[in-house]
């Protein structure tokens, strides 16, 4: 399918017809984004029984709307009570909360909403413009290149997202090993199934996802005790004049919105570099290029715009590698990938040929979601001041109960509920010892795909492993992989030497 104007209008029409899935997704995303502890991936995990039962396009529209809205509303508690609703809103606290303290809470909320919607809208349209070229990339990638791409993706996640690169790599390799559980693809002989028939089809992704993310996070939350009930802010009576003032500021700093959104998009495309990194990089770059850097941190509007625009730019960026090469750009994209795989849709280079409605439709749905968000958000700014943190003693049992129940809904095996608990313990240990859980999950997710491409490559090379170094594109990717591992190590050593010389 060519992405001409006719196709575009057809896909836009289809996306708008899914308003019944998009609007609840937006509403839910806005609501849970305000609650610290409810990350978008946890919300999507809780709702897996629902999305797995939905039609694929409706499920996708619902998940994307929820994801985008969640990125938007994460800034609300960051601005009002100095607690980011999501990791991507952490940088918003710096100037957003200062604006609240200066009596400009509503202006800060409007800035955050306008920057988020505009940033998301601009970048999803930009991705649509380059998608036909990305689709061509699929034709260049064969099994040898895909083997290297998967290893490269996991390496990037380890380098950028994990606190310790070596542990990130171990997590990714452990995930790939776990992904090799089940019968082999040629002779169907069972491997490492521990004698469980339930593992013959491989490690089920939904319970693994639930365990590694939701249950482990609940076990960590017990230590944080954040939920003793944050006092809602009652800064001042909301007034439309403040909303209009926020809109005026947004127009004044329109260029900030545009360039930081693109910065978020570029960072989002890199697997592992999510909204958290993008928002801080955008904040720092905005300050660096500002004529008045001293105003940052005192309640300066661009200090709210930069992280919010960037973290919504990430939403479209993170889906680019997911759709184009089948490597999820982050944990939420991994959840979406699992739902799509369950529906029989294989993401990756062939997607643009096999399922163009999904490949292009995802970004059109995102554009539509941002368009539908516009009429909802400005009234929200007026009434968003009632931010209440749900106490840990309520949120933890709710997440654990609902997600373990959700583990059953996928295959209807009691075994999967137990598996979710087991992976919850593994995930908790991984979190506490800095072994990045996203690396493990993406390893498990990509394990069977990696095996398929590796076997194809080895067959082409008649069993010779050197076939993996036989293509120019693959060799360039190998070189980039080595550079991505060596460069941070070299930088770290140089910084350590410099620090030692200074002391």
């Amino acid at each position: 399918m060519e992405l001409d104007l006719g196709t575009l209008s057809h896909l836009f029409g289809r996306s708008f017809s899914l308003w019944w899935a998009i609007i609840p997704g937006i509403a839910l995303g806005l609501a849970v984004g305000v609650l610290p502890g409810f990350s978008p991936q946890n919300t999507l995990i809780i709702l897996l029984p629902l999305t797995l039962a939905m039609d694929v396009e409706a499920a996708l529209a619902f998940m994307i709307s929820l994801y985008c809205a969640n990125h938007l509303s994460g800034g609300i508690p960051a601005i009002l009570v100095n607690i980011p609703g999501s990791a991507g809103a952490a940088a918003t606290c710096i100037d957003g909360y200062q604006m609240t303290k200066n009596g400009q809470a509503q202006q800060a909320l409007v800035l955050s909403f306008v920057a988020s919607v505009a940033g998301g809208l601009i970048t999803s349209v930009a991705v649509l413009a380059v998608l036909p070229y990305l689709a061509q990339v699929g034709l260049l990638l064969r099994s040898v290149e895909m083997v290297v791409i998967i290893l490269f993706g996991l390496t990037l996640i380890a380098v950028l997202a994990a606190k310790d690169m070596l542990k990130g790599l171990i997590g990714g390799a452990f995930g790939l090993m776990l992904g090799a559980i089940g019968t082999d693809q040629v002779y169907s002989t069972p491997r490492a199934t521990f004698g469980f028939l339930e593992l013959y089809d491989g490690l089920p992704l939904v319970p693994v996802l639930i365990g590694l993310f939701a249950i482990s996070e609940c076990l960590v939350m017990l230590e944080e005790k954040f939920g003793s009930g944050t006092k809602p802010t009652t800064a001042q009576r909301p007034q439309w004049v403040d909303t209009l003032d926020g809109l005026r500021m947004s127009v004044k700093y329109w260029w900030q919105i545009v360039w930081t959104a693109f910065l978020g998009l570029v960072i989002g495309v890199i697997p592992g570099a999510g909204a958290y990194i993008a928002s801080f990089v955008a904040y720092q770059q905005s300050r660096l290029f500002s004529k008045t850097p001293e105003k940052y941190g005192t309640g300066f509007p661009p200090g709210v715009i930069a992280p919010e625009s960037a973290n919504n730019g990430v939403t479209s960026g993170t889906l680019v590698p997911t759709m184009a090469i089948g490597i999820p750009g982050g944990s939420t994209a991994a959840v979406m990938m699992i739902v799509l795989q369950y529906q029989g849709i294989t993401l990756g280079p062939r997607l643009f040929q096999d399922n163009p409605n999904i490949a292009y439709g995802v970004f059109i749905m995102m554009t539509v979601a941002y368009i539908l968000m516009i009429p909802l958000i400005l009234p929200l700014a007026r009434y968003a001041s009632k931010v209440v943190a749900v106490p840990a003693h309520v949120i933890v049992p709710l997440i654990m109960g609902l997600t373990v129940v959700g583990a059953f809904a996928d295959r209807e095996y009691m075994f999967d509920m137990g598996l979710a608990l087991a992976f919850g313990v593994i995930g908790y240990i991984a979190v506490k010892t800095n072994y990045h859980v996203t690396s493990i999950l993406i390893g498990v997710l990509l394990g069977p795909i990696f095996e398929r491409y590796l076997l194809r490559s080895l067959r082409i090379g008649q069993g010779d492993i050197m076939v993996l170094f036989s293509s120019p594109i693959a060799n360039v990717l190998w070189a980039l992989l080595v550079i991505s591992v060596v460069l941070p190590l070299w930088r770290e050593r140089r910084l350590a030497r410099r620090a030692a010389a200074q002391t």
């Binding site: 029984p49 629902l50 039962a53 070596l166 542990k167 790599l169 171990i170 997590g171 390799a173 452990f174 790939l176 090993m177 776990l178 090799a180 082999d184 693809q185 040629v186 002779y187 002989t189 069972p190 491997r191 490492a192 199934t193 609940c218 076990l219 017990l222 230590e223 840990a392 003693h393 309520v394 933890v396 049992p397 709710l398 654990m400 109960g401 609902l402 373990v404 129940v405 059953f408 809904a409 209807e412 009691m414 509920m417 608990l421 313990v425 593994i426 908790y428 240990i429 506490k432 010892t433 800095n434 072994y435 394990g447 990696f450 095996e451 590796l454 076997l455 080895l458 069993g463 492993i465």
Partner: protein, 167 residues
């Protein structure tokens, strides 16, 4: 050199690699008799994994030899929180064991109530509200609307009889 209490404990950093190595060894054992196509993937990944773990061991060994770290194992957290965490996991296991007998709705209600109580919730309206409304929503959305075959118990049988739906 720092005393043993001041040195950074690193024993816990070996739990995940230990699990990974044990699993890889088990994997190698299960595929030893199989054709190369069935074991190629595991051997390639397993070898990379073992090499990474060796690098980690060298790094930790170096830190231990320099006196910068101790082999003590800790996941942090105070004793009270750890006890609550273990009890919560035990409660979840109890929930799974009770499911076939009590059915999803009643077992979930009891689990939610007990878990909230365990974590210090004492506000009765919240305790009762959350542990009654949530399982009812689960029953309505997942069992009644979507038709997922969750373990059925007295409540599910009763509702099936009342509404005349297949149990």
């Amino acid at each position: 050199m720092d005393g043993p209490q001041q040195r950074k404990p690193v024993g816990q950093e070996l739990i995940i690699p230990g699990l990974a190595v044990a699993f890889t060894a088990y994997y190698f054992w299960t595929v030893q008799e199989l054709a190369w196509e069935a074991k190629a993937n595991g051997i390639v990944i397993g070898t990379i994994l073992l090499a990474l773990v060796v690098i980690l061991l060298v790094r930790l060994g170096w830190q231990l030899s320099k006196g910068q770290a101790s082999a003590r194992v800790t996941l942090g957290g105070d004793r009270e929180t750890n006890r609550t965490r273990i009890l919560l996991m035990a409660l979840m296991v109890g929930f799974l064991l009770a499911l076939p007998f009590l059915g999803t709705t009643i077992a979930l209600a009891l689990m939610l109530f007990a878990a909230m109580w365990l974590l210090g919730g004492r506000h009765w309206p919240t305790l009762v509200g959350v542990s009654v409304v949530t399982p009812l929503l689960v029953w309505f959305a997942l069992i009644w609307l979507l038709g997922t075959r969750f373990p059925a118990g007295p409540f599910e049988h009763l509702m099936a009889a009342l509404l005349g739906i297949a149990d």
